[in-house]
Amino acid sequence: MPADATAIAAHAQILQSDARALTDCAERLRTIGARLEADGFAPRWLREAVDAHLAACATAAADLTAAATCLRRYADRARH
């Protein structure tokens, strides 16, 4: 089933890319929070919210990476 394996591998590649995007998102969130804090414009609730988002992004990136790894393995097995 090479066609299916190729499709699965493509999904794995996209999810890996998304995991990197989530990491980027976390970095952007951190930058935004820090900028507002530094400028003194950050609402008092913002830090807590950003921290929660940062943690979620990190977890989501890990979940996506794990899913991508599993998909890659699945595609390899299906190919052989």
């Binding site: 996209i14 998304d18 989501a60 299906a78």
Partner: protein, 751 residues
Amino acid sequence: MSVAKDGPPGRTADEPAGGASATPSGRTGAAGASLREAARELVGIAVAIRQAGVHATAALTDGALLTALPHAPAAALPAHRALLRALTDGAGLGFAPDGGRLGTLAARLGSLAGQESLAVRVLATSLRLRIAAVATDHPELARDPLIARLVEAAAADRDLESVRALRSLFKDRGAVRALSLIAPILGEVLALRALLDENPLNDRTAWLIATGEGRATADPITGISNRAVAALDTGAGAARRTDLTAAESARLGSEASLLGFLRNISLIGTTGRVLVQSVEGPDGVVRHVVQAPGMRAGRPDHDSPQDLLGAFSSTVLDSNPYSRALAAAVRDYGLPPGAEVALVGHSAGGAAIMNLAQDAEFCARHTVTHAVAVGAPVDFKRPADPRTWVASVTNQHDIVPTLDGQGAGACVDPHPGWYVVDYSDATHLFPLCHGIERYLANLADDLPEARDEMEARLAAYRGPVVRSQAYRLFDHAPRPDGFPFLSVPAHAVDGPAGPVELPIRCLDGGALTSYFAVDAAAAARLLHGSGFGPAAGVAGRALVTVHTAWNRHTSAGGYRELHVGIAVPDPWGPPSARPRPLLGPLLGPLLGPDLLRRADRRCSGSFLAGSVVDAAAVHAVGARLWGGEPWLAPLEFGLISGSVRVAAGAPGNRLLTLHGRLGPGLPAPALDLVGYAPGAAGETLRSCVRSRGPGRLHPLPRLRLAVGPGSAHPLAHRLRELGLHGARPLLCLSAGTRQMLQYAAVPLPAP
């Protein structure tokens, strides 16, 4: 007064107005800008996170994963498990299935169960930053504990607390102040609630509002589809020319300018009308301006597209009856191909003119150079011609411009290049601040820079107004007046005051026909030599009709008329065909079945003993209409709430009066009338009056006819001869509103 100058990229505005109430705009400050920028960045992050959920959902639901399962069963299960975990991990993406049928269904079920995704939570943070940004412009928002409570409750997804907070706000401040207070952040608060609540139907509209990707597609509270509601506003749109009143015409500016156009919109008001004007610009070129007011008060759906439904559909649809009616008005106005047109609209009119501006066919026929929308929800409108200069003027306390989902807190500019004046004025309360008069006053007095810029942009439209035409707009093309009853061939006959069209067509009038029993011998004396006789009657008495009418709107102008006639049977009928009592206890014994026939099939009628009209133009053609020689005299006709006040002759010299109450009435149609009278050449003339409309038959009228005691008028003499002074009618037929056709009398051989 404060005004927006930056905010979303591309927004433009004026400096704060001078004066004691002017304060620097927060949106021009660093805090507001920084918070909006952060909110915009969070939108990008939320979109990226959501996309990861879409991709993971696509992988999980891809058939390839299942078809490959037999080839690698040991690897399939971990892959599925990892995908499921990624899509449902509350500490990661949250509940994130999205995209495709299965993903959308799962997302809705998740929403129902109160599950949220990380993307939604990030977007909620973006909305809260937008609210914080607006609060920097409106310190009253930050200071107000009830507003803070509302925002906190919405952000924390505490539905009951949100409702309580809103109720407290309205109870404490009153509806007007509460709405005015919350207006700048209304879109954000509603979107926040919709994002986080358990209603899956409003999730998409919340996403659109929060990301600025498009206009709200549904009510953010209930999730009811906006398009479904807007679809109730049906119609091809139509426009009919209408005259402004003399007072309105006098107040129309003779020199065109932006403020002048807005004054015109204020002048014609929300009356279902629009105005089209032609202006000779400084370069001598004549250009044209369409001026469209907002919603007409009254029922939510009436025959005008300027109703509540029309306002709604103007906002959420790209084309609607209002914009199509505007196009019809411009078509009727008759612009040369390629003519330059500026569109100016307020409120629903602003949305409608933007719909017109984005109509590719309209823009192919005309060059829409400018579109100015004031107090209108137009953020997601796009002119078909990219060269069209668009200006949007909105007061941040005005809720109406936020109805498309974007308000003062918008962090994404959906239309770079527009000239946007988004200002706030704490002294103005909604709905007061939505009025065209308030916008006009703000532009005239408080926003000089914006006004001057817009006037400069519209410089080609400054100059003398060379033509003005008002139009009344309709959802559906209205039936012609009086159709089909009054749609009859007509011809003009010359009169001293100009031609009069016959038949006279009366669109709206009232009439009263009173039937009196008089001495048969007296009636016979008046009929002597006419060829008619004996008179129709009852119980040995002759029947006399006194017919009075006020024809309020006719093809010959408004006029009143009065006719006294002696009821006569078919002059050519055999004696056996003379009146028979076939109509039951009321009409039958008196008048016979012939009375109920249409005038063109009726043989019996009234031999006219005298006629009076009060309009010279009609009097001049009276002989053609009725025969004989009608008299010209003042007439009064009042038929209100069952009370009759008819008078002929000038006050102090009355010919007759007919006063009293009609008493109880039975429904009956307005009846046709047939009159006979001698012609000038000795022939007999037969005249017909066709009537249409509801009437009432009054079997016990309490009227009394009085002949003027000192009147020497010939008709007064005849009335006395007939013994009608002090008489009461046997019965009356009244019609408060009727249409009427008065045909010219036709000559017949003497019977």
